[in-house]
């Protein structure tokens, strides 16, 4: 049984998992849906009450009924690199590829339906609340007056994109940024705006969830750090990520979250305040993990490989401590 990995060629983070699967002698087919009708091909036939399909890529051929799992990592848009690409061809290719894969018995990391829903940040915030994870006061609005009133109640504010996406025309980054309460909020009318009470944090936390395993890493805010640099992704810091333990109440909330969301993988971002409270910021259903593994040495890639290689959904989870956190993280 084969593991199918959908990602771009340049995804060196996926390589970390491929290496682990190779070491375990688990068959792997890696392809980018963008290469459909080029170096990637597919075929499937419904006849006599059954289905037989296969994919080929780079000289490898795999039957769709021979897939044990599908890892949706960083796939390109289907047929984006076809000889004559078009939105129509992309939709046709997406329907053919994902439609056939969804009919297989393979396990997904993550299932496309769960992934699509899990990308919505407002949905994330609501689910986190229901799972008992502390969520900073947050407003998403197109009403400038609502923004002004929110700033009056929560004068220490940040703004961040609702989607998490960065504009590409021209390419710009939109880091989480502090907002003065005296700011002119008139432009809130021109796009949904997410304002959130700033957490006076002493550390950033990245909690990577793989199946039932929790691997947490902590990056302390160094003394004298610029308080306006609130986005750890863009703040210059020599402080590395270090392995961290997970408070039981957080572990319980996170487990409830991934169970409700139907996720096999999630990268949670928290901010730790001066009291040690972990404030939920977001959960990226396909968040990066290589930089955490490089800093901490935590076996995230191996844990993903083990999950993908498991023979069936009913099999036991890899060994974990009774509280579910990885021993290496504590």
């Amino acid at each position: 049984m084969t593991v199918l990995i959908l990602t771009t060629e340049e995804d060196v983070t996926a390589d970390m998992v491929v290496v682990c699967l190779n070491e375990s002698e688990v068959p792997v087919v890696r392809l980018d849906p963008a290469d459909l009708t080029g170096s990637v091909a597919l075929s499937g036939e419904f006849a006599h009450g059954s289905f037989r399909g296969h994919l080929s890529s780079g000289g490898r051929l795999v039957g769709i009924d021979g897939l044990r799992s599908v890892w949706v990592r960083r796939p390109g848009a289907p047929a984006a690199r076809a000889a004559t690409p078009s939105a129509w061809l992309t939709e046709e290719s997406a329907q053919a590829l994902y439609g056939m894969l969804l009919g297989s018995g393979a396990r997904w990391m993550n299932h496309p339906d769960a992934a699509r829903r899990a990308r919505y940040k407002p949905w994330q915030l609501g689910l986190a609340q229901r799972c008992g994870l502390p969520v900073p006061a947050t407003l998403i609005t197109t009403f400038p007056r609502a923004a002004r009133e929110f700033a009056g109640r929560h004068p220490d504010l940040v703004v961040k994109p609702v989607s998490g996406a960065h504009p590409q025309d021209p390419p710009r980054a939109v880091p989480t940024s502090r907002v003065s309460p005296e700011t002119d909020f008139a432009a809130v009318a021109f796009g949904p705006t997410l304002l959130q009470q700033r957490v006076a944090k002493r550390a950033d936390l990245r909690l990577t969830v793989v199946g039932d395993r929790l691997l947490a890493a902590r990056k302390a805010v160094v003394a004298g750090a610029d308080p306006d640099e609130v986005d750890v992704r863009f703040a210059a810091s020599a402080e590395p990520w270090r392995p961290a333990g997970v408070p039981p109440v957080v572990a319980a909330g996170v487990r409830a979250y991934v169970r409700a969301a139907g996720l096999a993988y999630g990268a949670f971002d928290f901010a730790e305040d001066g009291d040690g409270t972990w404030w939920f910021l977001e959960c990226n259903q396909s968040g990066q993990f290589g930089f955490i593994e490089v800093d901490t040495g935590q076996p995230i890639a191996r844990t993903i490989a083990e999950w993908l290689a498991r023979p069936d959904a009913g099999g036991p989870e890899p060994a974990a401590d009774p509280d579910g956190t990885d021993a290496a993280t504590r």
Partner: protein
Amino acid sequence: MQPFALEYARPVGDLEVATPYVYDSGRQVNVLLDGRVAAGDHALLRELGTTTSTAGSKTHFDD
């Protein structure tokens, strides 16, 4: 008419990171010029930042 959040946008540098490795379709991983698997060189990955939480932002929502 610019949305409020874009008032906080920053220009980004060259997104095309020159990487000293290429994809090997036979091995299904990226390899360095000497044939080693690039993912095994953690010092290199740290230097290039290709596994960081902003590396996927150009084409994907998930950092």
